[in-house]
Symmetry: C2
Subunit: 332 residues, 2 copies
């Protein structure tokens, strides 16, 4: 009961846009403790009961991906400050499965996005440490829901690298932006088509100073490559598109934002916006089912079997495949 | 019965080092068809029955990771050709979960490692298309087992990007090598500590021509960063280490190979080699159990429920969490 009261207070604080309440709410959904999990679900229920944003007033969820070194933090800082200057409220979340083992990047998040983090209309949340990819996805999804309930206009979901985390983010966002650095033409092959197919905008950063010609060439290369992909049903002509920007000077950021808004408007009109969110909800339902099926492994008798068969496999007495088949037989 | 006969022929061909038989065997373990799966398991059993390599004669499994643009293909070509020139047989496999959606990189694998692919003592296998990460892991593991049975001295397991696929590869290999490109000092933060903690060797490539000074600085930066990490029990002094190489000129490749061999010798003596392989077998056993538990979703009644609840979630009638809880109740 006390928990319910606390959750109502927390829900009210979040709905009122209180950043501290939001931070506490995200800490709650990130927690692995069972009692915290119960509270977290109650909080999400309370916020849902308090009402969804009206159609057309939902937060815009922008997924942002790029390998290390492309200038993601500088981009988020400049882009976020531009939106804040236009009166918008901006939240930044990170999905970083590679921090699962050690808890984040070497330098951490404190030195990043210093100016944006001081803005009262901005909220920056580093990636949680010690989380599995599945857990990261659920928590980020719930953190996004909290940011939406807190009335943010834009939620930027940042991810690192080229891999599974992009798939997670693409299932969380309305628009997916791939940030690249200027490169030689032979490096084009490095970007996998799967990532390119997720991207709505490809932004080639660092289009300033000595790198500007290389950035323009890279942009042209990717524009050409995008032209080879089949147009998606939810895209108007000219999307996905490649543009050059400079997070350092701010060049191109306003144009990129216009491109994003035009895409959003088009998708809303055609019903693709709602369709995408529906598909994402379905995806996360299936993911929750999978996680639920695997929960049996945390309890007896499966837990003990996992240990005993695991020992036999480690000692070379059984192959992984045979041991798994036997254990599944006894569980089945 | 016919299947068994074919498998014995295939097993004999693989054990004799026939590359065509090996390629056919890998195609078999990569297949998703149920009858192929049965044949694949029979093949693996037949090869196991034919005998494991004696201790000290197992293939050396080297995991190689690096983001696009660091020169992975050129490195593998030069490094592989060096080993081949020393009389070794070298297999190259790829783990690429990002190709799951679209089936590989834009330019594909045909233009890569052209010289190495012509070597009779080398075997190059591109990543399978249309595979889930879990499936990629199992198939790569089985492909590694086939390469070992075929008598390869070194199996290079290549992966792209910074993310979940590194974790898969680190659970498949004896030595993990991270390949980097020269970069500015502020880009150091981009490499996650989790990846650095997996790495046994960090090789800064492109240490040639105009990039050499930058490569040396980057190497020194990473050597410093590695010094901040706690030494692992399975490592001798001086590991993990950072070195500079040039895949283009070949500089540093022999030293890198010496460093790898010294590490392997140390780990064999201390029992860490065997311990690591035992831990990996245990990990894959648990992964097989997880995949087995999820297999229920492919059949009725779960399959139909997944569709019906999924529809309700997509229409906004239920939240993903509530729908998952109800479905799990009926399954349980």
């Amino acid at each position: 009961m006390a928990g319910t009261g606390r959750n109502l207070d927390l829900a009210a604080g979040i709905a009122a846009g209180d950043r501290r309440a939001l931070a506490r709410g995200i800490t709650l959904v990130e927690s692995g403790r069972a009692d915290h999990r119960t509270e977290a679900l109650a909080l999400l229920e309370a916020l849902k009961a308090a009402g969804q944003p009206a159609a057309g007033r939902e937060a815009l969820r922008i997924g942002l991906s790029g390998t290390p070194g492309v200038g993601k933090s500088t981009f988020i800082e400049s882009f976020g400050l531009m939106l804040v200057a236009q009166g918008m409220r901006v939240a930044v979340l990170a999905v970083d499965p590679s921090s699962a083992r050690s808890g984040g990047s070497i330098l951490g998040d404190k030195t990043r996005m210093e100016r944006l983090s001081r803005e009262p209309r901005a909220f920056i949340r580093p990636s949680p440490s010690q989380a599995q990819l599945g857990g990261v996805a659920r928590r980020t999804r719930e953190a996004v829901a909290l940011c939406e309930a807190a009335g943010f206009d834009v939620v930027l979901i940042e991810t690192v690298g080229v891999g599974q985390s992009e798939t997670v983010v693409s299932e969380l966002c309305d628009i997916f932006v791939l940030l690249l650095a200027p490169a030689g033409g032979d490096e084009l092959q490095g970007v996998k088509r799967g990532i390119m197919e997720m991207a709505d905008l490809i932004l080639v950063n660092k289009a300033d100073g000595a790198l500007k010609p290389a950035a323009m060439r890279t942009m042209a290369d990717y524009a050409g490559a995008l032209g080879l992909l089949r147009r998606r049903a939810q895209d108007p002509a000219g999307y996905p598109c490649a543009m050059s920007v400079s997070a350092e000077t701010g060049d191109g950021l306003a144009s990129a934002w216009e491109k994003m808004q035009a895409l959003v408007a088009w998708r809303r009109e055609g019903g693709h916006w709602q369709g995408r969110r529906a598909g994402q909800a379905q995806h996360w339902f299936e993911e929750e089912v999978r996680q639920g099926l695997l929960a049996v492994l945390a309890h007896e008798p499966a837990r003990g079997q996992l240990a005993r068969f695991g020992d036999a496999v480690a000692q070379g007495l059984m192959t992984p495949e045979v041991a798994a088949a036997r254990m599944l037989d006894t569980l089945g």
